[in-house]
Amino acid sequence: MNGLLRYLPRHFLDLLMTRGAVMVVIGFLLTLPMSLSGVDDATPEQLMRVLREALGSMGLFYTLLASYGLVGADVRQGFYRFLFAKPVSPVSYYLLSYVATTIVFCLAIFASFGLIAVMVAPVWPGWPALGDVLADYFLVSGLVLVFSRLTNADWIFGPVILGVSALLRGNYPADQSALGKVLNVVLPPTDTGRLFPYDGGVNWEPLLIQLAYAAVLVALAMLIVRKLPMGSAR
């Protein structure tokens, strides 16, 4: 474990140089339309609203870029062969890798604010907006992580499952049928609204449900890593 902890900074730099760099490029491309459309006439409130909307899109893109193939790429490209011949547990390795990915995600989000400040206007979206982005990151990346060892198209499962979840939750409300109650427990929480309202405070119950659901997903992903041998076909 000590070796793995000492290895972590280099792994973090790898993620930063590969995934982080792509995120910044995507951030630039998402900021470009705002920059070109001009914001000279916009009020601070309008600017803030646009920025918060952009932050939502960036958050999803960045989450998918950060968590895509976190386990699967090592299997697909055969990196696991040398990595896990060392005295290292794959579960510990991927848990730390997930931590490093989360830090890269946060840095990319902050880098995007820098881009927006330079290209559009120096606006700070506020901590509540960031809190929501991070909570969504944990949920979506958890879903992606579950599928990472199972399929090459893990990145598509997160958004699709969230979309299907929202649809089913809308059609089968929890308080109207037994099926709705089951779906409410099984499906990822998509009806939580704002976890961190802009006017302050925290919606603790939905936040804890969302984080608990994300934690279960990460645990499930690690169980798959543990139980499904690295050399077996997907």
Partner: protein, 307 residues
């Protein structure tokens, strides 16, 4: 140290349920201190066997234990000095950075890590390539980097899959020296290779696999069997009494013009050779036309296929 009892691995198609037996009913005990070779044609199950030993695959039949422990648990605790047939290292890593990264995972202290990495860079001739990225390395250099990362480990288990693949003759020779240097009484070295000559030189025993089945375990260190067989005699110039001294000698299938296959026991051939030399025959080389392992391999594999 390693015990396989009826170990097997069967792949089953999810849709058609068609089964492919990559390894069947494999039983053997391997002891520390020995160099154990695994030979077999393509698809014989060599790499599957190694993946089972590393816990990268789970057997579908039988059991595999390393010191009474499941392979994956043992590897996670002690690590294995492993060189895979396919070298999977991120292409953007640099040569020295690669070794430092893997050394970190070996949990080495910083001073030990630096010394070990520098030593291996020197030993495996990677000094001039140390700043190159993996994607810039030639096949031979990549193979040496793969070998270097394996040798970082001080593990009691060394597994090398096609270790000389892509190496030039010079480095193939040096590789043999490296393996000899890695021999220790408490260490088991397993080498899977197509190269029978290499296995014969390095291994104490060689398992011959064919289509997933262990056909034979040949004792490569036993030279007592070096008796009757076909020997190759290479002359510097034609000799009129060749057939008198070596009745039944035939031109060997090799292109070399003055190369002949002769038959007999080693004692009998020594006597004949002595007479021939006294008679003015000039010999350039005299060696077994086929190594014992090669013969054992051919017998085992062709016998298995009914050829």
């Amino acid at each position: 140290m390693i015990e396989l009892r009826g170990a097997g691995k069967t792949y089953r198609s999810l849709i058609t349920r068609k089964e492919v037996h990559a390894l069947r009913d494999f039983s053997i005990t391997l002891q520390p201190g020995e160099v154990f070779g695994i030979a077999g044609p393509n698809g014989a199950g060599k790499t599957t066997l190694l993946a089972l030993l590393l816990g990268y695959l789970k057997p579908t039949a039988g059991t595999i234990h390393i010191e009474q422990t499941e392979p994956r648990a043992w590897v996670e605790r002690f690590g294995v000095a492993y060189l895979s047939e396919l070298i999977g290292i991120p292409r953007w890593w640099k040569t020295d950075g690669t070794l430092h990264r893997y050394a970190l995972l070996e949990d080495m202290a910083p001073t030990e890590r630096k010394a070990k990495v520098e030593g291996l860079i020197e030993q495996l001739g990677l000094a001039e390539h140390r700043s190159k990225r993996v994607k810039q390395l030639s096949k031979g250099n990549l193979q040496r980097l793969g070998l270097a990362q394996a040798l970082l480990s001080d593990s009691r288990l060394v597994i090398l899959d096609e270790p000389t693949h892509g190496l030039d003759p010079l480095w193939t020779q040096r590789f043999r020296d490296v393996v000899e240097a890695e021999r220790r009484p408490d260490r088991l070295i397993i080498i899977a290779s197509h190269n029978l000559d290499e296995l014969e030189r390095l291994a104490d025993r060689v398992a011959i696999l064919d289509r997933g089945t262990l056909v034979r375990v040949a004792d490569a260190s036993d030279h007592s069997a070096e008796g009757a067989g076909v020997w190759r005699l290479v002359l510097t110039a034609d000799h009129p009494a060749l057939l008198t001294h070596f009745p039944g000698a035939t031109k060997s299938a090799q292109v070399r013009e003055l190369s002949f296959d002769v038959h007999g026991t080693i004692e009998d051939l020594n006597v004949r050779l002595q007479r021939a030399l006294a008679d003015g025959m000039r010999v350039r080389a005299f060696f077994p036309a086929q190594s014992r392992l090669e013969a054992a391999f051919r017998d085992a594999v062709q016998g298995g296929s009914g050829a």
